[in-house]
């Protein structure tokens, strides 16, 4: 720029420009002051919104909305920003018209118009909301075909909630189409991969309801039932299901239920045999948990020999945290106890060589 950088001078010029009513300068100043002087920052943000800066109008509207301020002000600010092409404002406005709120009943035409504008701006949330709107047909006209297209587009872009909505639609059967459990299952699994806990919980519920049409190997179903176990109200059924699979020798079920019980206040005694079974079977995180629990005495007594054995086995299998913990425990043990623990680890690996290798679940 031909001039040396000078933050103080820059701030002075910015303030002068802001005072002269330049909206961009007012908004920039509000952003810079947000951390150090929130009150002044808020004042400049309001000024910037009045000067017609869309980002500022959007931010102020959000603020008024969250404080339950006048809905007319919120709509006016969103509309002004949206008309200037501010995509988040278009999405917010469309969504507001779609759901309606105190003082503003739903308005299908406006909802559709603004969400479409946001969709043109490649907004995935708008895509998802518009898809749901066409699917339910409560506010805008019902258009399942278009709904599925929109949700599919969002889903293909990695939007987990759209994938979940598609799965629900397939499971229930959308207008005209028959329920399709095979497709639904595929879509639920994809939603889980995209990070949807809701999809995992739904799959867990389907498994617990004993839906035979699922034909899912129990190994795959364990994380879904675990999601159910961690959700409210389903604990007993999920626990029973996992316990039954664990008894059948399904290693992920032993590991997952063991880890969950270990974290519960009064279930440690039940956790130990499950973790032991998983650890014996080569499940490295369970080996580490078992070793760690023996160092702290969670099972009633501190047992350095058992702790060293399992931490040593986990460390040799590549568990990063186990190495340091094993070395700490080693320093607290007598040579005879170390020898006993090392003999046990050696026996484990000599036995393991005779067994087929097991795939490791990632954690």
């Amino acid at each position: 720029m031909g001039l040396p950088q000078d933050p103080t001078l820059g701030r002075t010029w910015l303030r002068a420009a802001a005072n002269d009513g330049y909206g961009e300068a007012q908004f920039e100043l509000s952003q810079r002051l947000a951390d150090t002087d929130p009150a002044t920052a808020a004042r400049w943000l309001t000024e910037a919104a009045s000067s017609g800066v869309p980002e500022a109008q959007f931010a102020v509207a959000r603020d008024v909305q969250s404080r339950g301020g006048p809905i007319a002000d919120v709509i006016a600010l969103f509309t002004s920003a949206a008309e200037e092409g501010h995509v988040p404002a278009q999405r917010a406005l469309g969504t507001l018209y779609l759901t309606g709120t105190d003082g503003q009943p739903p308005d299908g035409a406006l909802a559709e118009a603004w969400l479409r504008r946001a969709v043109q701006g490649r907004d995935l949330v708008a895509l998802h909301n518009l898809g749901l709107a066409y699917l339910s047909g409560a506010v805008v006209r019902s258009d399942p075909e278009q709904a599925i297209d929109l949700l599919t587009l969002a889903s293909d872009n990695g939007f987990a909630r759209s994938t979940l909505a598609l799965a629900r639609a397939s499971e229930d059967g959308t207008a005209g189409a028959a329920p399709d459990m095979v497709t639904a299952l595929e879509q639920y699994r994809r939603a889980v991969e995209q990070g949807s806990d809701g999809a995992a919980r739904r799959l867990g519920a389907l498994i617990l309801d004993g839906d035979a049409a699922l034909r899912v190997p129990p190994h795959d179903a364990v994380p879904w039932v675990l999601a159910r176990l961690e959700a409210d109200g389903e604990e007993a059924r999920a626990r029973d299901w996992l316990a039954a699979r664990a008894a059948d020798g399904v290693r992920p079920a032993q590991a997952a239920l063991g880890a969950w019980l270990l974290a519960q206040p009064d279930a440690v005694a039940e956790a130990q045999p499950l973790l032991r079974a998983a650890a014996d079977g080569g499940h490295v995180p369970s080996q580490f948990r078992l070793g760690e629990a023996h160092t702290t005495g969670v099972f009633g007594t501190v047992d350095y020999i058992a702790a060293h054995t399992w931490l040593n086995i986990a460390a040799a299998s590549g568990h990063v945290g186990a190495t340091g913990m094993r070395d700490t425990v080693t320093a607290l043990m007598t040579p005879d106890d170390i020898a006993t623990a090392q003999d046990a680890a050696r026996a484990y690996f000599e036995g393991a060589r005779a067994r087929p290798p097991v795939p490791q679940a990632t954690e």
């Binding site: 040593n312 460390a315 040799a316 190495t323 040579p335 090392q342 680890a345």
Partner: protein, 372 residues
Amino acid sequence: MRLRRLIWATVLVATGALAQDDAASRFEAGMRLHSGDGVLQDFAAAADHMRAAAEQGHAPAQNMLGRYHFEGLGVPQDRAEALRWLEAAAASGTPRHLFDLARVLEEDDATLPRAAQLYAQAAGAGLADASVFLGVLFQEGRGVPQDFTRARAIYETPAAQGHPRALSNLGLLDVRAEGVAQDYARAATLFTAAAEQGLPEAMTNLGVLYENGFGVPLDEARATALYRAAGQGDRPAGPPAYVYDPRLMALPPETDRAALAQAAQAGDPVAQFQWAWLVLSDDPAAPDDLTRAAALLQRTAAQGHGPSMLNLGLLYMRGIGVPQDYVLGHQWLLLARARDVTGADAALEATTPPLTAAQINAAQRRASEYTP
């Protein structure tokens, strides 16, 4: 080994002179096996030689056999058998043999007075260690009446020769004002002399003096440094290092690792060793790489490659890429030393202390069963 024993049995000729020669050569053979000098260290095989020589009255062999039985190294641990041989060796009057017998007798209150007597005899013959142990008995009143003045007088001679334990124990008498007026300054001088020779207890004691400013200027930083040094023991050389094979060309810094890994994968043993060596030189190395490096060294060591044996042994001792296993670690280090790998001696010296006698026996047995 079995064959050699048979040969020995056939050459046992019943003439006195030959028997003496035989005892001496059996003892020498035993000592080579004991120290692992050019052969695989094997206490069990050494004990066989020692027993043969001991039964012919060879005192040093009797002493070694007694010590083996006391520790349970190479032979079953057996206190009665240990004492029988240690007594036989002590009958020769050799100061070190008197001392070794006293060390065992000192453990039992009933034989404590005799231990004191043996220490005195060995000390009188000039063995400094015996003086120190005798001094401790007088200081603590074990097996002899407690007598600080006497303890002090006993420590003086070895202390004057610079014996670290004698120096340190004298310093403690000064600190505790036992048999002498309390003298922190003198204690500090004594502890310093002992600490300079690497005695951990002296470092700790000197640290206490610096922490409290007793007899020395108060210096907390120095105290902390002394405590840390004491905790690490005397390992001036640092932990033993992984070794490269001096017969191979040095790897240039711009070595293509991917190409080396590929050659290792294809089964080239040189590439396997070199790739593993590069990983062991990484700081920090990736855990997956260490597991793979250990697996490659398993192969090259099993094929008889000495430097691989040393590196694999250290990995087992440290539990890196393999389970921490002192038996397997010691086994590979012994095999490396038997192949004259440079650094194997130092590695064994540094890593053996935490092993139990049973672990040492198991490692030696595994090493003796190894075939490339």
